[in-house]
């Protein structure tokens, strides 16, 4: 069984990552940077601990849908939009969680189409590809509406409730103070979370439609998946893998962000991994990641000396809390009145960090310069 995960990882995720790094470096997406290191970026994408631990430790097949999504992203960056749409539809059909990225794809492709000669024709082309892929995959179930509805209802079990376990989600973290379950029935909760999610990704959505750019696309992916993670209904802790994918793609530009996010994402999965007896693997994979992040040639390492003392203190404080929480979770027993106290504390810490990071990435995307589209239009005229 483990072989099937490994082989699917090898066959799908690895080539997609290679393709992406190749496209990224060739197109010079991140602007001209000195000391760019393609192997380091590849290592960051392939080796991020969460995917390794969840897929190969806990056992899941996330790598297939993530690989297809990564392939779609790379195809968008290399201007093969039809291929990208097909790949992304396949990803959605493999795991509906990939819908987290849908707003970003939609907004970017729409923005690109609107900038061309025949916008309606372009949109129709993409639409046809998407519908075609869906039809291909759903073929066995398309004989009656009942079958389709059955599949759909299994995919989205809303009756399970707002959240399972403890997730570093908005609803879960604030439920400590505001008991949402008692205030609103399920219908209105669904509606509320929909509103919250849409309003969270709306700024980046609009921005991409108005001014699509490659860098902006990567940020938009991060923003939309984060907004879904934070505000959506029925989020699992493993969903943090989805925002992590675009974060790893942006690793060369925002190394600090990526490292920070990775560490807290792992922390949010810590209770799950403890239950699976993967603590040793957690420590060694995290340490290995840390080593590769700070590789000795120093080109992609971070210059910590450039940060002010206040900033450094601000960063080390949550880090210290997380170390303490690691130890507490393993050694102490929570009081009987609050059996999930330690999980809640871990989640609160992670949530706070995620909120900071989301705000940062949203502002970054909105502040991105608009000039890239003009240069592309200029090249097309030539």
């Amino acid at each position: 069984m483990r072989w099937t995960v490994l082989s699917s990882d090898l066959l799908l995720f690895f080539p997609a990552a290679l393709y992406f790094v190749w496209v990224y470096c060739r197109r010079n997406v991140g602007g001209d940077k000195e000391g760019r290191s393609a192997p380091w970026l590849l290592a960051m994408i392939l080796l991020y601990p969460c995917l390794i631990l969840i897929d190969h430790g806990h056992f899941q097949y996330n790598c297939i849908s993530l690989g297809l999504t990564l392939g779609a992203i790379a195809a968008v960056l290399s201007r093969n939009e039809l291929v990208a749409s097909a790949l992304f539809s396949l990803a959605i059909n493999h795991k509906q969680m990939s819908l987290y990225f849908a707003p970003a794809f939609f907004s970017h492709l729409l923005g690109k189409c609107l900038g061309r000669q025949n916008p309606i024709f372009e949109v129709m082309k993409l639409g046809l590809v998407v519908i075609g892929t869906f039809a291909l995959v759903w073929q066995p179930y398309l004989y009656s509406l009942e079958a389709v509805m059955e599949v759909l209802s299994r995919l989205s079990p809303f009756e399970r409730g707002k959240y399972e376990d403890y997730v570093a989600n908005f609803w879960c973290s604030t439920s400590i103070f505001i008991k949402w379950k008692r205030l609103f029935p399920i219908q209105s909760m669904k509606f509320l979370s929909l509103i919250a999610t849409v309003s969270a990704f709306l700024p980046s959505f609009i921005r991409q439609v108005k001014a699509p750019s490659d860098r902006g696309f990567l940020y938009a992916l991060l923003n939309s998946s984060f907004s879904f993670y934070l505000f959506s209904y029925q989020v699992h802790e493993k969903s943090i893998l989805l925002p992590l994918l675009p974060a790893s793609l942006l690793a060369l530009e925002e190394p600090l962000l990526f490292g920070w996010l990775m560490y807290y994402a792992l922390l949010s999965m810590y209770p799950l991994l403890c239950r699976d007896h993967l603590i040793l693997q957690y420590i060694s994979v995290l340490a290995l990641f840390g080593f590769i992040f700070y590789s000795p040639d120093g080109r992609s390492g971070m210059r910590a000396n450039s940060f002010s003392i206040r900033k450094r203190a601000l960063m080390t404080l949550p880090l210290l809390c997380s170390f303490i929480l690691h130890v507490i979770y393993l050694s102490l027993r929570p009081p009987k009145k609050y059996p999930f106290l330690f999980e809640a504390m871990i989640m609160l810490l992670c949530f706070s960090q995620f909120v900071i990071l989301t705000l940062h990435t949203n502002t970054k995307q909105l502040m991105l310069p608009d000039c890239s589209t003009r240069t592309e239009r200029g090249k097309k005229d030539l």
């Binding site: 040793l280 060694s284 290995l288 000795p296």
Partner: protein
């Protein structure tokens, strides 16, 4: 030092991930020695027989086990219990032992750092990658379970002292090494000759003074190790345990050395001569069993005794010894010592395939000196690592060992290509040689064929043999691995001999 520490850190993460893998009976052996040294008084260490795993390493290693038993007893007292701890395989014992091997590799880190720190940056990093990430060492130490990294670290330390010209320190380090694992005695002739000629120089008085200094330093190390046993009158017992005669020429799985060819030749000759009508007596003894009276395990060829193997080893080492005697230079010492261990591996009595580590690891440093050495190391490290594969026979370790060898080969390939580029650009500045095109390849035609053959052997063992023979003739794939690797090892030995005769 930071670079070396980085390499060591990455390796340690991988070693931690290897904790739950298969381990051999060596695990129980070392656990028993932890219990033995902590529970029993010194006088009974070498005479205790409460377990079949008797202490057969010299005293300094026993002191090391005593040191380790202190934190072990704090962690989980059952580990060091002589009776209750037998075959104790709880996770605490597993974790402790594995972490102790990884921690003992700090000595390897120190040795590698001292040896490689004088090299230019790219070659230094390459050297660290080969020394600290050696797949053979990972397989033997961290899966199969042994403490070779620690001992090889002492060897590298001693070699680094000698390469820097600090002979006294090198001699003392080597004495410590011998008193920790007596298998390293094979390198003693080279050390003796080299130190005699290089260190004990000058006028008669000065030379004698130095000789006495070296002698007393080494003697002091031996005294620390064996002194207490001499005091208790146990020396004979200690020697009896350290050198158990009664084992056969080969281990159960034949190490890929010269004797493989001898045995195969014997079998072929017996078969052919029997077909031709001669009467050949079937041998009563086996190769892996002990010496049974006067009967020989060989049907046709003359019998081989430990004395003969000893003579052959010394004979094979003699060109190296003569060179060391005539012109002792510190820059060649690593090559000579590696060659000595190669001779010991090729012609020794009851050699285990793990002994190939003893010369493969030092040769990683030698590989940095020239492209020829790099080429040789490429072939040698792949062959020696592959010959260790039969040690891990469980299916769950299969992808691990393949992956380790593959990553190492890719690293070597990329590193040496870079090496070649920098060398050829340097050569073009100094000389114009058109005929150097073939010389600039990492691996020639013959080498490629040989390595492809390695694939073939593995394919046979994994797929074709079960297909054709099922469960019959289970020793055949192992024999094939032995013979094929022995060819590579013989080539390595011959190549090293040629290098020493021509260039050193």
């Amino acid at each position: 030092m930071e670079e070396a520490a980085w390499f060591w850190g990455v390796a340690t993460c991988v070693k931690l991930l290897l904790v739950p893998t298969y381990h051999s009976t060596d695990f129980e052996v070392h656990r028993h020695w932890l219990a033995l040294t902590s529970s029993l008084p010194l006088a009974r260490w070498y005479s205790d027989a409460s377990s079949p795993w008797t202490l057969d390493y010299p005293p300094l290693f026993a002191y090391f086990e005593l040191l380790l038993s202190l934190p072990a007893s704090l962690l989980d007292p059952t580990i060091v219990d002589l009776v209750a701890g037998q075959n104790y395989a709880a996770s605490s014992a597993l974790l402790f032992q594995r972490v102790s091997v990884a921690a003992a590799d700090l000595v390897l880190l120190l040795g590698a750092h001292r040896l490689a720190r004088r090299l230019p940056p790219f070659r230094r990093r390459l050297a660290f990658a080969f020394l600290l990430w050696s797949p053979a060492l990972l397989i033997v130490d961290h899966i199969h379970f042994q403490y070779n990294g620690f001992l090889l670290g002492i060897l590298l330390l001693s070699l680094s002292f000698l390469a820097e010209g600090r002979d006294l320190a090198g001699g003392i380090a080597f004495a410590v090494l011998i008193c920790s694992k007596h298998l390293f005695l094979v390198g003693a002739p080279v050390y003796f000759v080299y130190l005699l000629r290089h260190y004990c120089r000058g006028g008669f008085g000065k030379a004698l003074g130095r000789f006495l200094a070296m002698g007393s330093a080494v003697g002091a190390v031996f005294a620390t190790a064996f002194g207490p046993f001499l005091y208790h009158g146990q020396m004979l017992q200690v020697l009896h345990r350290l050198f158990p005669f009664g084992r056969g020429l080969c281990h159960a799985y034949w190490a890929p050395n010269f004797w493989v060819f001898y045995i195969v030749l014997d079998k072929i000759l017996a078969f052919v001569l029997a077909k031709l009508g001669f009467v050949i007596q079937a041998p009563k003894a086996s190769f892996t069993g002990g010496l049974v009276g006067d009967s020989s395990p060989f049907a046709v060829l003359p019998q081989v005794t430990p004395a003969i193997t000893f003579l052959l080893v010394i004979l094979a080492m003699s060109p190296c010894l003569i060179k060391a005697f005539l012109k002792p230079q510190s820059k060649h010492i690593i090559r000579w010592v590696a060659y000595a261990y190669t001779c010991g591996f090729m012609f020794g009595w009851h050699v285990h395939e793990k002994a190939s580590l003893h010369f493969t690891i030092p040769l990683a440093i030698v590989a940095m000196e020239s492209l020829d050495d790099a080429r040789h190391y490429f072939l040698l490290s792949i062959v020696s690592c592959y010959s260790l594969f039969p040690l891990l026979f469980e299916p769950q370790e299969y992808p691990v060992k393949i992956l380790l060898l593959a990553v190492h080969s890719i690293l070597m390939w990329l590193g040496f290509c870079q090496f070649r580029i920098s060398r050829t650009s340097h050569q073009r500045k100094t000389s114009d040689s058109r005929g150097s095109c073939e010389k600039n390849q990492i691996i020639g035609c013959a080498g490629t064929c040989y390595l492809l053959g390695l694939f073939g052997v593995e394919l046979w063992g994994q797929l074709l043999h079960p297909y054709f023979f099922g469960d019959k003739l289970p020793f055949l794939p192992l024999m094939l691995v032995s013979i094929y690797c022995a060819m590579g090892m013989m080539y390595s030995w011959a190549w090293q001999l040629r290098q020493i005769i021509r260039f050193c």
